[in-house]
Amino acid sequence: MSQPTAVAKRSSFWARLHLRERIKDRDTAIYGVLLIVALAWPMATYFVTGSSFLTAQASHAGYWVLLAIGLNVVVGFAGLLDLGYAAFFAIGAYCYALFASFQLASSPLHHAFHLPFWLMLFVGMFVAAAAGAILGFPTLRLRGDYLAIVTLGFGEIVPQLFLNLDNWTGGINAIGSIDQPSLPAWITGPWAGVDTIQIIPNFNFSFDPVAYYVLVLIMITAAVILVTNLYRSRLGRAWMAIREDEVAAAAMGINTVTTKLLAFAIGASFSGFAGAYYGASFGLVSPDSFLFVVSITVLVMVVLGGMGNIPGVIVGAIAIYFVLNNLLVALPSNVESVANAVGLGSLNKSSGDWPGLGGEVQRLQFLLYGLILVGMMLLRPQGLFPSRVREQELKHDAVVEEETVAEQVPAR
C-alpha cells in the first residue's frame, strides 16, 4: 500500500497474464500441472533413480495418451461408439514398419524401403484417416449399438489381416529391426545422464528414451492444440449438435454423414500418428499388439478420464497406464514384502494348491483391475475431470430420477 505506483506497474504485466483466473479454471490448471511435470520429468526421475527407465515408461504412456485424445474426438465429441479403434493404430504402425524395415525385401516385391520416419509419421496419419473414412462411409448410417458392433468387427478383422497376409507382413513372426528416426542435430545434457550439455550431430534415436520422450511430448502438444481448435470451431459445434440431436442437426443444414465421417477420419488419423511412433519406439510390430483389449483400454481411458474433455482424457490415459503397467505389475512383490513385514511371511511360500501370496495376487491381477474400474465408475461416473456437459447430464438424470420417484409416491 505504501508504494501504489510500483504495485500498479508490476501488476500491469502480471494482470495481463490473467494468472489468477487461469489457475481457477480447472482445465487450465490441469494443463499447467501436466506441462510442468512433463518438462521436469526426465531430469527429476534421472536424479532420483539414476536411470532413464521412468522416462522410457513415460514415453510409452505417451502413445496411449495420443490414442485417447484421438478416440475422444470420435466418442467424446461426436458421440459415436467406436470399439475397433486399435485397427487404425495397427494400420499406422504397419504402415511405418513396412516402409522402414527390411520386411518388403522378403515380400513378393523383393525390394526393401527405408523411408524417413518424419515423412512416414504423416503418411501413417493419412493412411489411417483414409481407413477411417473407408470404414465410416458404409457404416455411419448406422446408429448407436449397431455402429459399435461394426467397428468391433473391423477391429477384429484388421489384426487378422496383418497376421494372415504373412508373405507381406511376416505374419506371426512380426516385423522387427524397424528403422529409428534420425535428426541432423540433437542436444543432450544432465537430464539424460550426460554431465555437460552437448550437441550431437547426425543424431539417431536408437532407443534413446529421452529422445522418444521429447518426440512424444511434442506430438501430444500438437494433438492437444489441433483438437482444441477443432472443438471450438464450426466443426466441433456440428459434432456436438449431432451428438445431441441428429434430426435437428440435419434440419439446421449440417450434413450428418460427412460430419460424422470427419470425426471418424480425424480420430483415426491420431491413432495412425501414434502407430508410427509406436513402430519406431519399439522397433517391433506384431499383430498381437493390436487386439480388442487395446481398443477397450483406450475407451476405458477416455471414459474414466472424462469423456469429451481433453485434459481429463490425458489424465485418464496416464492413470490407466500407471495402474496397468506399474501398480498391478508391482503388486505381487509389494504384497509379499508387506506380508513379511507384518510377520505373515509363511503365506508367501507356495504349497500344494496355494501358489504363495505373491502368486495368488498375480492370478487375481485382472480381477483387481476390474474392481478398480467398477469402483471408479461407481464413485465418479462422469470420469475424473468431466466436460461440463457430461457433469450436467448426470446431475440432471439424478434429478429426473428423484422427480419420477416423487411423482410415483402419491399415485400409490
Binding site: R237, A249, T256
Partner: protein, 260 residues
Amino acid sequence: MSEQPRNDNILELTDLTKRFGGLLAVDSVSLQIRRGEVFALIGPNGAGKTTLFNSVTGLYQPTSGTVIFDGKNITGSKPHQVARLGIARTFQNIRLFDYMSALDNVRVGRHVRMHAKLWDSLFKLPRERREEERVTEEAMELLRFVGIGRQANKYARNLPYGQQRRLEIARALATEPKLLLLDEPAAGFTPQEKVELMQLVQKILARGITVFLIEHDMKVVMGISERIVVLDHGEKIADGPPEEVRKDRRVIEAYLGKSA
C-alpha cells in the same frame, strides 16, 4: 397439373402424397405459398400436418408428388440440402441441442452459412477467427431479436419452456431462411405469450421471410395468417382467407363433428 413455377410463389406442392404402409398420411395435397405472406396449416390431430412439414423439409421422402421451392424442384432432397436452399423449421416437440448453450444453439444454425474449412479450423487461421467473431455477434443479435439475449450462456435445457420455443426460432432464423416453417409455435403458451409470439411473427415477416405455420389455436391463426389450408385425414378440405375458411361447412364438420 404441370404448372410452371411462378415467381411470386415461394413454395408449391403438387399432389404431394406420403404413405406409411397402409396409412395415407398426406393425400395428394396441392398448395401454393406466396412470397412474404403468413400461411397457416390447420386441422384436427392426426390430420397429417407435421407429416407434410417433414415431407417438405426432407425428413421424409414423399411417396409421390412434387415440392417446388423458389423455382427449384426439391422433392426428395436431404434435410441439410433443403436447409441450405433456404427452408428452416422448428419442431412440434422442441428439439434443441439440450446441453449446448443458447448461443451455441444459434451458432449451429449459422453453420450452413459459414465457410471455414477443416484446415482453417485446425490451425485457427485469421480467416476462421474473424468468421467466428462475426458469427458470435450475429448469433447474439438473433437472441436479442427473439428476446432472450440475456440467456446466451445458459444451457438450452435450463431455459423456461417459452424461451426454448423462442430459441428454436432464433436457431432457425440463423440459417438465413427464405421460408420459415413453424410447427405449433404457440403450443402450451399463455394468452400473453401468444400475443408476444404473434408480434414476433410480424417482426420475422418484416425481415422478408415467408412464414408457414401449423397451429391449433384458432385465435392465433385467424390473427396473423393471410391464408389458411385445412387438412383432415391427409386431405385438403379448404383453402382460402381466414374468414372464408371459418365458415366452410367441411371445416366445421372436421373440427366439431357432423351435426345430426
